[in-house]
């Protein structure tokens, strides 16, 4: 605890990303009121890679994920220490434009949550800047098509983009949410158990999308599904009670974990 109370500046030397890294958390600690949830996390998100975060329920995975796009601040009792950088910028710096940051670090939630609008408008909402005059639908149509294609949804919806997004199946809704996130042109996409509400077919479809996304963005995905973590990720981090117990290349974490807790967890012993 004592060492973590160092001022932010002390971490500045560590808080610089290498070219192959897109985000880096250093000594990241989160408390909700008096309850400490993350105990100083040091973790790197590699560029154009998929990082899986695994760990038992309540260990702080969602809290960590929401730290990366500052959605954490919506919780009034949340307090934090440490640094998180995105391309060498401290994302918690006072000069950081919150809305720009959240476009650079997008998020897909556990429950598919399209807006109660048409498919087109869901994507268009993400594209449109807060300009006085909104661009015409025709002007953004190519971009809407592009992101729907990248999210693997285009062929299923191209015939009727004005359909209500909520009439789509759960898996389609989640892919729409991925498309919507892509429309903001992010560098990193955070996914919090994106398949937990979906059937195996839809899950496979989304995993395929995630693997394809890797060519332009970096992905951090929280999952309770060990097979999924192995299938989609390049690196894996194992959280336990607010600590990052294990971190490394996915194959290594699953086949030769350094800690006993990780070995037990990936073998399905607890969680």
């Amino acid at each position: 605890m004592e060492t973590r109370k160092k001022p932010k500046k002390a971490h500045a030397a560590d808080a610089v990303t290498r070219p192959d890294e897109v985000m880096r958390a250093t000594g990241w600690m989160v408390r909700f009121g008096s309850k400490q949830v993350l105990n100083g996390i040091d973790l790197v998100v590699n560029r154009n890679k998929v990082l899986a975060l695994i760990g038992p329920s309540g260990c702080g995975k969602t809290t960590f994920l929401r730290s990366l796009n500052r959605l954490l601040e919506l919780a009034p009792t949340a307090q934090h220490e440490g640094t998180i950088v995105l391309d060498d910028e401290d994302i918690y710096d006072a000069d950081q434009d919150l809305n720009v940051l959240r476009r650079r670090v997008g998020m897909v939630f556990q429950q598919p949550n399209p807006f109660p609008m048409s498919i087109f408008d869901n994507v268009a909402f993400a594209i449109r800047e807060q300009a006085r005059r909104r661009p015409r639908p025709a002007a953004i149509a190519p971009r809407v098509e592009e992101v729907l294609r990248r999210a693997g949804l285009w062929d299923e919806v191209k015939d009727n983009l004005s359909r209500s997004a909520q009439s789509l199946s759960g898996g389609q809704q989640q892919r729409l949410c991925i498309a919507r996130t892509l429309a903001a042109d992010p560098e990193v996409i955070l996914m919090d158990e994106p398949c937990s509400a979906l059937d195996p077919r839809s899950t496979a479809r989304i995993e395929e999308t995630i693997r394809e996304l890797r060519s332009d963005v970096s992905v951090v995905i929280v999952t309770h599904n060990m097979q999924q973590a192995r299938r989609v990720s390049d690196q894996t981090g194992f959280f336990l009670n607010g600590d990052l117990v294990e971190y490394g290349d996915t194959e290594r974490v699953f086949t030769a974990p350094t800690s006993k807790e990780t070995a037990d967890y990936v073998a399905g012993a607890f969680g």
Binding site: R102, R103, F109, N113, F115, M117, Q166, C177, R180, T181
Partner: protein
Amino acid sequence: MLLAWATGLALCGTIATMVGWLAYNGIGNVSWDFLTTSPAPGSLQSGVSGGILDPLVGSLFVVVIGIAFAFPLGVGTAIFLTEYRRPSWFARIVDTTVDMIFGVPSVVFAMFGLAVFGASYLTFLSGEVSTSGQATAVSFIVSGLMLALIAFPPIVRATESAIRTVPNHQREAAYALGKGKLTTIRRIVVPGARPGIITGVMLGVGRIVGDTAIAIVLLGGTVLEPMAHGWWHPDQITNTLRGSGSTLTTYILYASPAGEGNTAGKAYGAALVLMVMILVLNGIVRKVSGVRLKKGSSR
């Protein structure tokens, strides 16, 4: 259970009887002519003659003026109470104030309006009393402004509860796309609350249309005379709105045996028109809020 059922039946019976009785007494007086001709000046001997065009238009005027003010104020207040609530002591004061406005009888607002809008520098909202230089405080504008107050609370409350039904994950999704709080409110929260807002506005319209006290005091209910010839003319409309007039409720009061006109038939006719208007409004409210219920349960 049986008691509840009986109460419901009794209520339905009362309403049905009332509507039936109004229809029975009023229907003979309601005709196209009745709706489209101005009332003729009444006297104790001849009673009121003519139709209800001017009171109908008068009701429309006060509804438009009242809602024009109550709608933005009410929706804005609801947004403050749900999405901001800061500082919290202020939010609590606003909350209590809305409740109080809800509870104050409209005749109190009428007296208050008379006092406030009587100020000599407010003559542009009504007319000038030549002897004192004070404002008359009797006009469509003044009564519309005070009627906005009684339409305001239901708009606030209906909007508030509709906003609370907009799920939090929708707001989070907007924030996660880099949208600010204002954009999120404008593009996600308010559209999501639209059915509730419409319900609130309808309830507000119903309260304005049905109010009598404010219209009598601040619109000059004793005046059963038609509006000046050519009141609708663009050159005249400001004068018309600054002038006195009548609404359906004041017409009913004065045409009835209780008032000056002593022509019960006309009063029944106008009451029937008013009743039908309110029933139609209620139907719209039910339809719109029903839409919301269905949408909510399908999630």
